[in-house]
């Protein structure tokens, strides 16, 4: 009995401590702006967060970083979101078709490139996309490619690359492996681009396909970049969500993302800004 009482008291104290935690006075006046952004934007948007909040004391940016496919599903399910930045047009189009985004606020924001990355020292001595695809087709023992799954933009770009080398095929809208054994034994699927980067960084896989900005931010060994012929252009659209109650704040934030200050941060890691002011 005594013990239970003690435990309960401690629990109570812990709860009380979190409840009246570090609530600064000026923070109570800040309005939260919910930004759902592609996982590949994690570092850059976080870097800009401090700069933006220093200039706009009325706004508290709240980020949710994940694969654009997951974010799209969350928005469809009614998640609280004001701004959406997708790593591909497909997810943004999907939301636009359901009238979930304010089309008039939508713009092509950044351009990125898709990169082939390998663990430190390139243990499997991979040369380029062609070499990687040959070895996948040869089902080389212990050869593993980490790629985003087919709901993740970087996974969809990877599918296009693999198709251009004949490892995958496209029937209608559906991509599939020509030889199912390759998928079963030589592909590791990841839920977003950062998980691909983590698998490569950890040397768990032979190689992975990420964006060049992730290769830069995560200090990965980049072998080569995919050409437009392999996977098309990689364009990030941004827009406000229809249900947002913070239209003014949201628009102001989108404008800021086009500013020179923001552009510098994006270009430092390898993005190309498409909508400069």
């Amino acid at each position: 009995m005594k013990k239970t009482g003690l435990v309960l008291t401690m629990l109570g104290a812990a709860l009380a401590a979190t409840a009246c935690g570090p609530a600064k006075e000026d923070e109570t006046k800040r309005t939260k702006l919910y930004v759902f952004a592609a996982a590949s934007m994690t570092e850059t948007l976080q870097e800009l967060e401090k700069k933006y909040e220093a200039k706009n004391k009325d706004t508290d940016l709240v980020f949710n970083f994940d694969s654009s496919g997951t974010l799209k599903t969350q928005i469809e399910n009614g998640a609280k979101c004001d701004v959406f930045i997708s790593a591909a047009q497909k997810q943004m189009n999907g939301l636009a078709d359901q009238n979930l985004v304010k089309t008039e606020t939508r713009f092509d924001f950044l351009e990125n490139k898709v990169s082939l990355v390998v663990p430190e020292g390139n243990p499997k001595h991979i040369l380029d996309f062609g070499n990687m695809c040959n070895r996948l087709q040869a089902k080389e023992d212990g050869f593993i490619l980490a790629m985003g799954n087919d709901d993740v933009p970087v996974g969809q770009y990877t599918q296009k690359i693999l198709t251009s080398f004949g490892v995958m095929q496209k029937t209608g809208d559906v991509y599939s492996f020509v030889d199912p054994d390759v998928e079963d034994h030589h592909v590791s699927y990841c839920g977003n681009v950062k998980l691909v980067a983590a698998a490569v960084q950890e040397s768990s896989v032979s190689c992975g396909v990420v964006y060049r900005t992730d290769a830069f931010s995560n200090h990965l060994v980049e072998l080569t970049q995919a050409t437009e012929e392999m996977c098309g252009r990689v364009v990030y659209p941004a827009a406000l969500i229809s249900k947002t109650k913070q239209e003014t704040l949201g628009k102001k934030y989108l404008e800021y993302l086009k500013s020179e200050e923001a552009t510098k941060v994006f270009e430092k890691v390898g993005f190309v800004a498409l909508a400069n002011n």
Partner: protein
């Protein structure tokens, strides 16, 4: 439909249960004989994986067995790899399931009546015989509970497993990682099939435990 994840989950859970059974009993037996203060410390260490988030276990396992780290590199050089292989699933499952077996067995051993062992000794029985034929049978119900919990935990392991062995459809996929992958790629229907399979498996397991327990009770009455 490809049933590889079912087969893979079952072999990982079965093998790790066997490993956990022996390792758990071994440590439970020897630690219950140690002085109290050492027992307290070791107890905390051995129970940690039970209360830690599986991702923390996964991180620590990668720190040891990852291919960027000495132990992992050494094992890899002699042809043993726990990274992106189904054997890695056993490692993850053993680590998270071990505390369940260990604690159940220890509790059982501690309530064991030492007079029974001494009686055996006066009859000239060897320690091994006493252990396997007197101590273990007397502690049967606690040990069975431990194995069942360990098997269930191993079957449901997700966090450390996905960090260690990822999701390779025909190589490392388990039921739990398959459900997550199918759900996250908008294939809810297929995910549902695996959810039902998992519920069925767990129900069968619990049912068989009840049957075993009932049989045990009837024996005792008779």
């Amino acid at each position: 439909m490809n049933f590889f994840p079912l087969w893979n989950s079952l072999r990982i859970a079965a093998i790790s249960s066997v490993v956990v059974f022996f390792v758990g009993i071994f440590f439970a037996y020897y630690i219950s004989k140690l002085p109290r203060w050492i027992k307290g410390i070791i107890d905390v260490i051995f129970t940690l994986p039970l209360v830690l988030p599986p991702t923390v276990c996964g991180y620590l396992l990668l720190l040891v067995f990852g291919l960027k780290h000495p132990v992992g590199q050494f094992l890899d050089s002699i042809g043993v790899s726990f990274i992106m292989t189904w054997q890695g699933g056993i490692l993850a499952a053993v680590v998270v399931a071990f505390p369940l077996m260990y604690r159940a067995a220890r509790a059982a051993f501690e309530s064991f009546d030492e007079n029974l062992a001494m009686a055996g000794r006066t009859l000239g029985l060897s320690n091994t015989y006493i252990f396997w034929r007197i101590r273990i049978p007397a502690c049967q119900s606690g040990i069975i509970a431990g194995i069942v919990l360990a098997f269930a935990r191993a079957l449901g392991e997700y966090g450390a497993t996905s960090m260690l062995i990822g999701y390779m459809p025909g190589e490392t996929a388990t039921i739990s990682t398959t459900v997550y992958n199918l759900w996250s790629t908008n294939r809810s229907q297929e995910a549902l099939i695996w959810v039902l399979i998992n519920i069925g498996l767990s129900a069968i397991m619990l049912l068989s435990v009840n049957l075993i327990e009932n049989r045990g009770r009837r024996k005792k009455v008779a």
